[in-house]
Amino acid sequence: MGIDVQTILDGFFTTIQPMNLFWIALGGFLGTVVGMLPGLGPATAIALLIPITFGMEPTSALILMAAIYYGAMYGGSRSSILLNTPGDGSAIAATFDGYPMAQKGQAGQALAISAIASLIGGLIAVVGFIVLAKPLASFALRFGPAEYFLLMIFTLSAIVALAKGQMVKGFISMCIGLMISTVGIDLQTGVYRFTMGNVHLSEGIDFLVVIIGIYAVGEVLYNFLSINKPVGEKKSVGKIWITKEQWKRSKWPIIRNGPVGFLIGVLPGAGGAIASMLSYSLEKQISKQPEEFGEGAIEGLAAPESSNNAAAVGAFIPMLAMGIPGSGTTAVILGAIVMLGLKPGPLLFENNPDMVWTFVNSMFIGNLFLVILNIALVGILVKILDTPPRVLYPVIMMLAFIGTYTLGYSTVDFLILIVFGFVGLFMKMLNFPVAPLILAVIVGSDMEQNFRMSLISYPNAIGILTASPITIALVIMTIVSLGFPFLSSWLMKRKAGKNNSEAM
């Protein structure tokens, strides 16, 4: 696609028509709200809005739906930071340092930096979209079964390696997640596995139910254990604006991880959860103070926030340029805009350049709107921390159940939710890292299917590992990420002459 300044400007003027600005604002606001509520993700919100888009201008419908999508990326981290209950897979990484920050009395600053990081990540990705949409779309095609399999192995290994000092627990956690992901129909053979004759389980256990169970329900149960303890000092929420020092620490992580998230977002099927987790582990591994990660390091929050928003923008590239939805949410959007008569695919950029550029401009304006909205909301949101537990926890429980129901319209999920609530509680009590389990549930089934398909495509394991330059690079990165914690602690030991490797 050539960059035609005139078309981009035309797109800009279409975007700032009052009606389109209204759709951006409405979508951004709705997205922020559904993102905050556990389980009610952007895919559900957009799906429920589809009947409203019937008869809308296709471009406006796309603007509205996209605004919900990236609005949810802003909103998702709000509940991660304040309540340790992520609203979606891509908001999990925000709990690692966001929640500790809130506990240290820096809730306001955490919310602010996450909005700023989302903005910058989003803007980097919009620029990337303008310049690189076409070449990246063809790069993404080079990811076949072997490449996806190794990308997922790499992501899992990076997460396990994060649990420094307790890697064994990380592996156990990951293995449980992989086991959960085997429930449901096996695509390659059509065989039902571990469904116990229950129709609802034939499509597997929804990872969002696992997330809501382990985080939201688990967190409530955990706090219930200490409910009779006298309430301590009222938690301070701190300033709502970041300090110069905090900005200095976050600046580069934000800028670095915009492109990282964007590239991963472009890969169909990878998405925000993988992007934000990889960004987090990247920052921790190159940080000079890795021991502060997990204790409320601001860059540990800024990096994944920049990354997941960039991924949300990147996910539109395969959708618009090739007609391939890169995530659950873009799949819903794709279905909706096809109903309205648009034909996403290789010809869209040639046939409807005005629409494409209006859309790109809307993402630009939408991100600006969202950062203002979210920073304005900081003052109100931090009040959640003042809410007495007897009000707050029942509300969280109620939202968890409502959110779960909207995922599959089945009460079977309630049982699964409660089971994972207890799993979350025990993992917390026994100090097991939760992230490897969740990530394994998210990628496990895709990883397995891709592995099985690679076995058909390549004669043996060596063939899979050396299938292409991409696979070789991924293998090396996996080895480095698993070996790095050992290497760095060995180096540190030599340097300091004493053992100071601390448990995370």
């Binding site: 076949g144 129709v199 090739m322 008569g341 319209y409 089945s410 299917q449």
Partner: protein, 328 residues
């Protein structure tokens, strides 16, 4: 005390009667439908079935074809199984979207329901299924591809989604069988969604793929891969250069249809009501626009025709699934 119990029992009976008025003894059939209609999309919001159901709801209302209001209800799970199970226990005020999955779920051993338990009301649309090969493929035509499969059935990687036993898969199996290929040895890579199949064919990770024409047409027109055959009875307007299987010497026509299913035991009058409603709906401009936007073809058949059609489909699928070795 007794009195109160009696009153309670009576009012309970009255409420029950009111709730199940559809099959209660009231004979005033001219008033059908008597209450709000439920329209089941056996899938989550956002998918093709849900979208179809909501579009029908909108057209029925805006064109004032039916007076009663219609509510779309999502009952996802088990390839439609959950929704149809629900339908099987309802009265004539509930309808559902259906497709060949209603037949194949049972044949594949994934459901106890059969199409015979329901009242088929209409067939509405069909999509045709395409077979495409990657750019630079050694197979120029569908015949080339089939010749190769006849020589060595396992030598070609074929991408399909989202599961074995679905239409995309079985249409290919049927074509191959008709050509004389050993269909038990075919090498399918099963992807999760049609989008994934497209990606893998564009990237050259599979040699051939089968998917709905609505999914593949844009890529073919842009020259990103080549459709070598379609399952329609004649060439399509938007793809004038693509031959049908019949032209390639493989005598098959394979629709991927969607229709409307009613609960068991609907009366003649109720069936007539829907014959009128749907035949009116398919003539509206908004319906035609919907078909065009989605790349669907009009395939309207009324209740009696659909009943006969389902019977033929059932025979065809039974034979195909038997021979492909998929039956449990």
């Amino acid at each position: 005390m007794k009195k109160i119990v009696g009153v309670a029992a009576l009012s309970f009976a009255l409420i029950l009667g009111a709730c199940s008025s559809g099959n209660a003894g009231e004979k005033d059939d001219s008033a059908y439908p008597k209450k709000n209609l439920e329209f089941i999309a056996p899938a989550t919001p956002g998918g093709g079935w849900d979208a179809t159901a909501r579009a029908i709801q909108k057209i029925m209302k805006e064109e004032e074809i039916i007076d009663q209001s219609m509510t779309v209800i999502n009952k996802p799970g088990g390839n439609g199984e959950v929704g149809w199970q629900y339908l099987s226990k309802k009265d004539a005020h509930t309808l559902a979207i259906d497709s060949s999955l209603l037949i194949t779920n049972n044949l594949l051993g994934q459901s106890d329901l059969t199409y015979e338990e329901f009242t088929p009301l209409a067939t509405l649309t069909t999509e045709w299924i395409s077979v495409a090969v990657k750019n630079g493929s050694p197979y120029e035509t569908a015949t080339d591809l089939m010749e190769q499969l006849k020589k060595d059935p396992a030598s070609v990687k074929i991408g399909i989604a989202p599961g074995l036993g679905n239409n995309d898969h079985l249409s290919f199996v049927k074509a191959a069988k008709t050509f004389g290929v050993d269909i038990t040895k075919l090498n399918f890579l099963v992807y999760e969604s049609g989008g994934d199949v497209m990606t893998s064919l564009l990237g050259g990770h599979v040699d051939a793929a089968t998917m709905a024409v609505s999914e593949s047409a844009e890529q073919h027109l842009a020259g990103k891969f080549k459709i070598v055959a379609i399952s329609a009875d004649e060439r399509l307007e938007e793809l004038p250069d693509v031959p049908t299987w019949t032209e390639e010497g493989v005598d098959i026509v394979f629709p991927h249809w969607r229709g409307i299913l009613g609960p068991p035991d609907m009366t003649e009058d109720e069936i007539t009501y829907w014959n009128e409603a749907f035949s009116e709906m398919v003539e509206t401009d908004s319906w035609k626009q919907l078909l065009e936007n989605n790349g669907w073809e009009d395939f309207y058949q009324d209740s009696a025709e659909t009943t006969q059609f389902l019977k033929e489909q059932n025979e065809m699928y039974t034979e195909l699934i038997d021979e492909s070795g998929l039956q449990k």
